[in-house]
Symmetry: C2
Subunit: 293 residues, 2 copies
């Protein structure tokens, strides 16, 4: 018997959904879906009723769960003993991320990681420049792109939609359309930035409302923070001093990827950080979580 099938069964039972189980085990929800079906086929038993509200244990499933829990507890105890004290992963992991992710997301998460693994040293390289992962200039890269490079392993962290952002003090609104935006001071783009879909649309429809321009998203965000006007920003640019007022449907969605070199995928400290970040991204409401990062 494939012991991991029971592991997946247990996670579904504990979480009540494929998505929840996927988060717990750090795999894709479609993987959990297939493992459960394989398990049921192997046993010739239905373990869950598929309800619109989620997966509900059948009678056979309830019986299996009692033993699965014991086995699960035994594995937990075993892992605590063998990976808690005896196993102290150490070493350096270098991670690079764009400015905003580096400033507003990673610090909290990396401090959580530090608490879990005190002997792993994380080096954070801020910026969006093309570092060479083959030469170990960074071990992990977080990048926003529509097309991750093919020579690297890519894991999707989040979808990035565009939003309309204002200063934190901006009064509550129920959304914007092109007409209501026309009456707002707007931060526009210049230089190469003007080619982005969101800003091309802005130029076409809202050129007269633009009161300031910048060629850098961080600068646009800063201007919005200080109340110079509303800024169109991808959601990974948000921070606690900005208020997300609406979704900008005219912005082209992109994706945040975690990239790493294939040779590092089995390095334990890298694996641990990758798993940790995937979980943090999937649970953070600020980004359109995929729920199964």
């Amino acid at each position: 018997m494939d012991w991991n099938l029971l592991h997946s069964f247990l996670a579904i039972a504990r979480n009540g959904s494929l998505n929840g189980a996927a988060r717990e085990l750090g795999v894709n929800h479609s993987t959990i879906f297939r493992r459960l079906n394989l398990f049921e086929d192997t046993l010739s038993l239905r373990l869950f009723d598929r309800l619109p509200q989620g997966y509900k244990l059948t009678q056979a499933g309830e019986e299996l769960l009692r033993q699965a829990e014991q086995i699960g507890d035994a594995f937990d105890a075993l892992e605590r003993q063998f990976t808690g004290q005896d196993f102290r992963p150490r070493g350096v992991v270098r991670i690079t991320a764009p400015n905003n992710i580096a400033y507003h997301y990673l610090p909290a998460w990396l401090s959580q990681f530090k608490a879990l693994y005190p002997e792993i040293k994380v080096e954070l390289i801020v910026g969006n420049q093309d570092l060479n992962l083959t030469r170990r200039e960074a071990d992990i890269a977080i990048r926003a792109t529509a097309n991750p490079p093919e020579h690297l392993i890519a894991r999707k962290l989040a979808d990035i939609n565009w939003g309309i952002y204002g200063a934190i003090e901006f009064p509550p609104v129920t959304g914007f359309d092109v007409n209501s935006l026309r009456h707002q001071p707007l931060i526009g783009a210049e230089g190469a930035m003007a080619n982005l879909t969101a800003f091309r649309w802005q130029e076409q429809h809202l050129k007269d409302a633009i009161v300031a321009r910048a060629n850098d998203l961080n600068a646009m965000a800063a201007m919005a923070e200080y109340g110079m006007g509303l800024a169109f920003l991808p959601d990974d640019q948000q921070n606690p001093r900005l208020k997300r007022l609406d979704t900008l449907k005219q912005g082209k969605q992109s994706h945040l990827w975690l990239l790493l070199h294939p040779d590092l995928r089995k390095v334990e400290r890298v694996k641990l950080l990758v798993s940790h970040l995937q979980r943090c991204f999937s649970e953070d409401p600020r980004l359109s979580s995929r729920g199964d990062g």
Copy 2:
């Protein structure tokens, strides 16, 4: 944690070797090798000392084994409950095998299988003809060949060497060479059979010793059984009424394969029979067992 890694560790600990663990779990010994190494890397622990005599548990391995045994026992209990009574695989499995395998190997093994799974009906089709697995003329085919067909899934069952066989009453010998064979009555080949490597060598070096000929291996085996002379036979032709006197190095080694159609690999009753036969072949001393079927 990948729970199957513990399963593999437990099997090695129980059997004392990669080969033994492989037989128990029905996988290749190299798979067990890799799983153990992955497990040790994951835990950053050495679980076994690699000695020439085999794998010996380290202190950490002994500690892990205590908990692994409990988990293993829990899985065994779970499997008995969920696959012993509730799960009764049923249906028909058609298997085809060459005459000698069908007469002298399969009956015992299929009766063992019947005891384990009383509601699976096995249909045995004797012969070497090309049945169409795609049209379900047979579900499983056992065939001796050097090159299994590429559209089928092939699992190696055994290497087939050639041997020199005599009647069961033949006096003990310490082996043969070309000179000592010259003084023995030999069974030769005719027709297409004469093209086989073993028989070509026989014609070149021992033509004068040939006292009878046949174009069929079963017929040659029968002649040897009744003492007409010694026969050169591939080892899968042996039976309890024949005595293997020596290995024939001049015979071209071939292999016994278990073949099945890709669509059937997930059908439970087929999987069960495939696993059962692989184990039986790997444990039978009459064939040059690969030790890891």
